[in-house]
Point group: C2
Chain length 115, copies 2
């Protein structure tokens, strides 16, 4: 199983093709709590994280945001009372790049650091 | 037009009825950039705010979160690169309470303080 959390995002060019199902399959076992969702024809990688209150959820959002800034790759983060939903995809290619799987694995590390 | 931003949230009991269209109508002129949306049968008040980058969006999210904590009433906040979407509704009554309109007006004040 690849250790995605140890990888860094690579430059993604507009001409790059989104990953195929065959390319995605070996990456999923490392991300068992993430789901592939499709929104407006774009495949995305999504997970909801649960928290005890709003303040903890907001703190997690802040730390995922800092991770995103550090890598120059940004998710959609929905913050609610006791829950944060993080969605990764690559706007440029309107789909999933290996970078999204790396960032999902790194997001899991942020929440583990939280507990 | 009521000055909603000057009001504070009142305690909302589970037995309270969501506002009717007739009760909502006079509150909307003060919130011209907000939309009433319906999701899963629940009426919600929603606005997207645009920013120059992710960092500014995340900062706004943090400040709306602090406002929410101060009032004990919490929205869903979706943070993306250059955009934050804030959605207010009252979970207890599965609809819109006057508190949601007050918080929408106060959210507008947060963004004005940002510019």
């Amino acid at each position: 199983m690849p250790n995605l959390a140890k990888e860094h995002c690579s430059a993604c060019h507009r001409a790059a093709a989104p990953l195929t199902s065959e390319q995605i399959a070996p990456l999923l076992p490392a991300l068992s709590k993430w789901q592939i969702v499709e929104r407006g024809g774009i495949m995305q990688l999504q997970r909801s994280f649960m928290f005890r209150n709003f303040a903890q959820a907001l703190d997690f959002t802040h730390r995922v945001g800092e991770l995103a800034e550090s890598q120059g790759h940004h998710p959609a983060i929905t913050t609610e009372w006791g829950q944060v939903t993080v969605t990764w995809w690559t706007h440029k290619i309107r789909g999933l790049h290996r970078n999204d799987f790396i960032m999902a694995a790194r997001t899991d590390e942020v929440v583990h650091a939280n507990v």
